[in-house]
Amino acid sequence: MKLFGLILLIASFLVGCSKEQNFDERVIYLISPEKIAGFDPINASDMYSSNEMGKVYEGLFEFHPLKRPYELMPNLAEAMPTVGDDGLTYTVKIKKGVFFQESPAFKGVKRELKAEDFVYSIKRLADPKLMSKGWWTLDDKLVGLNEWRAKYAQAEATNYADEIEGLKKVDDYTIQFKLKAPFPQFLYALAMPYSFVVAKEVVDFYGKEFLNFPVGTGAFVLPKFEQTNRLVYTKNPNFREKFYPSEGEDSDIANGLLADAGKKIPLVDKIVVDIIVEAQPKWLGFKRAKNDLLEVPKDNFQEVIVGTRELTDDFKSKGIRLHAEAQLDVTFISLNNQNDLFKDNKKLRQAISLAYNRAQANKLFYNDTAIEAQGVIPPGIAGYRKEFKNPYTKYDLVLAKKLLKEAGYPEGKGLPDLVVETRNDTSSRQILEQFADNMKDIGIKVIVGQNTWPELVNKVTTKRNMMYTMAWGADYPDAENFLGLLYCPNQSPGSNGANYCNPEFDKLYKQAVVLQDSPERTALYEKINEMVALEVPWVFSFNRTKYYVTQAWLKNYKFMEFNHTQFQYLNVDLEVKKQLSKKF
């Protein structure tokens, strides 16, 4: 679950550090905008922690770094799995000769990766004692796994030795999964950080401290994770033979993204990640060449970008490149559909949506670069239909007032104050101040409630909210990942934070999610999306476009929505860096 707040901007100061640039070592400097919650893959629920874990740990599959639309490719798996005739049995062969990174837990022995490790790692995901944040990805999917989980829910300790029918090792290099019902997104689930492979010895050796000692099979090593503001990864000297891809999109050749084709990765010696929460210090750091890749903060937009896709001359002269990418995400103001106000009062929900001035919000907060969301599914994912315009996402005060009256609250009379919960950063507050201002125009009083991130999550999962703001980013390119946000059985503490329940929606959803990718499924997704859009379970806000800038010397960067595996492919051109650094 890739939850993140609307925009991340919180107070802190850049620690002034000026040291001589070293042009001999191939180092990439990156930024993480949030603190990292630790290195246990089963809890990789936010994108920032996932990005860090993806440098050390690996899974069976990963998304191809260059091909679009996104395509899975084998990573630790030898090849894509063979699927039985029933469509339920997946057999995966894993690569031979893959070794875990060195760790005292292995007592000096080189530890090879075996099929058993995957069985163990997925059991950890299901272990009721560990309360993993990623259990939802496999909940009710594998034969016998839920029963195993239920069996130990009340027990003292979980027994990992139990055999599970749906999760078996056939031999040291073969795993067999058996699904309860067709689950076309299964391989996507195996590509998510939750199912990254860990070694039992390491987990046992470190016990509770495991999350601070990442030992994976990945391209980079981080000996110990500490809550500091800087993480330094070094190249894994024993990394297996893994090569930079030689295929991609047509434009990749022109963009120099295939220059390293066929070379052994990783291509750099070190990755340095600075954790800087506040927008301006990050930005000043980028301008002084202290980091290589950054999302352009909204307040610096005018300084960097002319029009929508062009860099200003100052930035161009430094060789900086701009990557403008539509996100597979949707931002929304969720209405608690189990609250008496919104439950069974569709007209009230629609009136609120109609009174929200999205054009104004787009201008103020996204520099007019976002797309007004019409439904749950964002552009770029099958199920989104460009022609579909939601009649309730227009800005129409007359209709809003009419519907509000029909909802039983003429001019807002009789309606209590609406409290919208959000994070306590500046932009989140400002976004809701504008929303509150809009609502005043039809007589609704909105109060903005600011919360720390854990507080907000708590209010959502315990249903103690009227409304809250959230953004949802795709975990994998399938509309199921979005529509599931409104599926009744997923209601809080699950991902359906709006607690929306609609039997007709649920019926269609259940039909759609077991279908393999096909025009038929796409048509069904479209139907469901457009049906639920008219119901307004959320106030749909935006599908955002993000703007990233990269320094001239950072090679092989191509925007990736599922980016936790991307960093191993990056390269740095020291010659260019040496020359250009004089300009900074």
Binding site: A279, D299, E433, I447, V448, G449
Partner: protein, 283 residues
Amino acid sequence: MKTNSLWVDAFRRLSRDKTAMMSLVIVIIFSVVAILSWMGILSAGWSQEVGGSNMPPSAEFIFGTDLFGRSVFDKVIHGTQIAMSVGLVTSLIAIPIGVVLGALAGYFGGWVDDLITWFYTTFSSIPNIMLLISITMILGKGIFAVYVALGATGWGSLCRLIRGEVMKHKEREYVQAAGAIGGGHMRKLFIHILPNVTHLVIINASLQFQTAIKSEVILSYLGLGVQGEPSWGTMIDDAKLELARGVWWQLAASTLAMFLIVLAFNLLGDALRDALDPKLKGK
């Protein structure tokens, strides 16, 4: 020889001090502005869109406009109302607690003193801002929580001061005389001793006031203070982002207002101490 009472004397001393008078004038102006704003005469339209987004200061908008085209001047005025009300209400909560507990501890000594001393030392050993944050977490956010949080945490130093002063006074002859003619504990404490320590309360109140204002700004800056209306803290929070695009007027206006009132209260507090407690002068 004609003698003046302490208060007349003190006022005479105070009125000779030009800085103190300036400070007093500033405090009065801020108070009047706050009252007018509270009555809805000033800044009632702070939430109205009056111009374009982020317009710089001009003849029409002396402090410019904010992101939503609202007048920054009106927001500063409304922020003044919030700040002054926080100062006033928290003083009204903290001072009685501090005075009563301090007086009881100082007068009775023994286990009463032990208990109250333990209480305020414990309170003051907890980092202030942490305590404030936890109180607002429990009470929920909003101005009410800010009043309670600041009021409940602000009495420690006054309590200690009053305790010491009462201890000193209770051995004095006039108190013993009051006892000799049959005055009870309460009479001695509240009729005889307390009036002799009121000057401390006044000095402390002016310091209390500005501490509360500063704390409110910090809490609002962190998103824990007033919700849904402008405060100097939220304006500074806004400015944090806007400065990057050269929007300096929200920051300037709110910090200027805060600077003036905090400085005025500080100077006034010093001058009051000098005027009311001449023995301390220069110390």
